[in-house]
Symmetry: C2
Subunit: 438 residues, 2 copies
């Protein structure tokens, strides 16, 4: 029997950064298609924003010095010499003249500031100004927001709505982004049948990993090629793996990665190309029988067959590999939620344990409640909100300790302070208590 | 001049829940296409999971009572009567017999437990069992994970990878989901030109809201119909709005929603159908000139023209309307990140203020640094990580106070406790300091 060469989790995460290289395949897309794509080059502004001196209020464009000393009791008097229309040239004004200007309107030459409409009164063609303005007041200068030629976004940035807005404003209507990585999934196991199989025969089990890992890849913007299921037959496995491998940027295989006579994954991964297997076995639970390999420049991953383990390893390891292919800038801050642990959790030193938890608010504090189940149960995976880690250096975690929860579901948008969120969780999960059995 | 009828933010959020109704349009999709879709009905399991009594270890299927009293020094002796293959029938065993069974293999009838391979030794056809097992040990019973007919997921649930896995396991290969809402976007303003315009003329400004709001809608899984830009001409505006309105489930108009002679949005929204305008003006900053209407059963929203305001109102208001169309279950817990405020922020009682912030880790604590800019600047929107609220009941927030940050970028996946996240933020943002000017 061959043994795992088990690596520490932290070593594996470093190895991913060091070993796999970004795809150099890029494409150009319009801003309408660029949401959530990853920039393949720095972007510089094509033009000044705004493109002209612009009023920030409804009012009168003036020369500031013509208003000096003006007050409620002692207004300044200017001649109104016209109206500036939105989207049109601002024209010019002479000293002691003023033009009506709407918010966003183009400043006329000769004017350097805007008197707000609230502080002025038109009497015939005469403007009474009740408040003085300083040069530049209520005006954004040409290029003050964004300067032509300045870098607005960096390579590796994942384009969000606000970023696309800045690009639109800066006159950038197409961007070069990384091509979506093409990822192949191949399931193995004599007992595994396609999820859409009408009637299972005795001993058969539906393929769960193709569905979960496929969806997780979709959530990262990857193009997924579903390779189906290969039975535990080395030649067939090798043929099908090679066929899929040729078409993809990353090959993910699930099942067949533990040590056993039926487990050909290692042989297949070695046969795909040099340098071959880099990691066989990671010191984590669940997920120990994970394999990382590289064939030519392409990463190949062997996930454990058990769906709960496969998803943990996907979230910890495969996501990083996909982000590496995109050369994506890491998330700028820690996205984990702090919560207190509801019970003691023992663990072994030297191994990273990942424990699924449900989140619950108790007396205003967030608590993480471990969701256990007999090994092999799958229903637990949709009953939990996230995962906590018992780090390799620790013997366990104590009840009441603060932990960081990696949440599965994310949502954008603004929650108002006025809202009462206390009912949210129970609304989704019903009143059933998941038993804390182990 | 007509004045806003300003509503409190909390009233508006309630009104959305009360006024707009879920779409009844549904469609059936396979699990391969169901990621992030919203269930239109409860889903019950089609079959028991597992579909047969299943071993959770590699070992020998036995009758527990045949092992009672067995120990290292006094093994029990059983006859090995065969090998169970993955994906095949388990067959049967007689008393005092055993069959080899792999992890996930089907239990033979007559057996009730599995002796782990580590605790048994085959000597010829004789099995020496060194440890007794209890009935049910190392076995998952048929239906123990999920029972046929039990509800596995509820209507309104947004399908995540783990949920799809549970459905796959339970023999559900197609699900009924809400149709994606079709949302139309129409921009207005004489100064606004398409973002892809080659060369701006004096006074013109590129359309930012079409891009940002379109991307934000895409992030929610909506199908976006881009209606383009309509100039400030009532008849043209009405014709184009009606044309788009017919094709969509929700119409979003941007610009033209403040009180002024050029602002026809109110007239257009009233003309689209009964009951017409429900809210004109919300007591929030930025975003006051927001309009909510309903024409027939369809929601219509008028967003402020300024891109920064439009995005805030989208995240606070429009997201809820879209979620309402899906009848989506709210996010199960508070997704906001806690941080300390870096400076005093004054505000007006009775108005909800939304302030963009940058997140920064200082001495191990997360701080929220307000990102200000002259009114009208757009570059600030991609320089911030999220938004905090100064609630309507408060006069402001104090430096050092803990606040809840609604973050713009979300990311799934597991962060390891072994990782040093301190460099992440500066890596993205460079070392430039955004001036805290107001």
């Amino acid at each position: 029997m061959k043994f795992f060469q088990v690596h520490e989790t932290s070593d594996v995460l470093r190895l991913i950064e060091d070993t796999y290289k970004p795809l150099e395949r890029t494409e150009e897309v319009s801003l309408y298609e660029a949401f959530d794509r990853v920039l393949a080059e720095d972007v510089v502004a094509s033009e000044d924003v705004p493109g002209f001196d612009r009023s920030t209020v409804d009012g009168y464009a003036v020369r500031a010095q013509d208003t000096y000393g003006a007050s409620e009791s002692m207004p300044a008097f200017l001649d109104v010499s016209g109206v500036i229309e939105m989207g049109k040239e601002g024209g010019a004004i002479a000293p002691a003249k003023a033009k009506y200007i709407p918010t966003g309107g183009m400043m006329p030459s000769g004017a350097d500031s805007v008197v707000m409409v609230e502080h002025a009164e038109e009497v015939g063609s005469l403007l009474n100004v009740h408040k003085q303005v300083a040069p530049g007041e209520n005006v954004i200068k040409k290029g003050e927001d964004i300067q032509a030629g300045s870098r607005v976004l960096q390579r590796g940035h994942r384009l969000q709505p606000q970023d696309l807005g800045v690009l639109a404003a800066a006159g950038v209507s197409r961007v070069k982004v990384f091509a979506k990585p093409v990822v192949g999934i191949l399931s193995t196991g004599d007992e595994i049948v396609p999820p859409e199989t009408k009637q299972l025969r005795p001993g058969e089990v539906r393929d769960v990993n193709t569905i979960t890992i496929g969806a997780a890849l979709q959530s990262m913007g990857a193009d997924v090629l579903y390779g189906g299921i290969v039975k535990d037959d080395l030649q067939e496995y090798l043929r099908r793996a090679r066929e899929l491998f040729e078409k993809v940027d990353l090959l993910v295989m699930s099942g067949g990665s533990s040590v056993g006579t039926r487990d050909f994954s290692v042989q297949v991964m070695e046969a795909l190309g040099e340098p071959g297997i880099l990691v066989h076995g990671i010191s984590l639970k669940p997920g120990k029988p994970t394999i990382l390999a590289k064939a030519g420049h392409k990463p190949v991953v062997g996930l454990p067959g058990h769906p709960v383990s496969a998803l943990i390893v996907f979230d910890l390891v495969v996501r990083r590999i996909v982000n590496r292919l995109y050369d994506r800038t890491p998330h700028p801050f820690d996205p984990r939620i702090r919560a207190r642990l509801s019970r003691n959790l023992p663990s072994a030193v030297g191994r990273s344990d990942y424990v699924r938890v449900r989140l619950e608010k108790r007396d205003g504090e967030m608590w993480a409640i471990p969701v256990f189940g007999k090994s092999g149960l799958i229903s637990v995976i949709s009953e939990s909100d996230g995962v906590i880690e018992i780090p390799a250096r620790k013997e366990g975690l104590l009840q009441g300790e603060w932990v960081n929860v990696n949440c599965f579901v994310t949502e954008r948008g603004i929650v108002s302070e006025e809202e009462d969120l206390s009912g949210r969780h129970s609304a989704q999960r019903g009143t059933e208590e998941t038993p804390d059995c182990c």
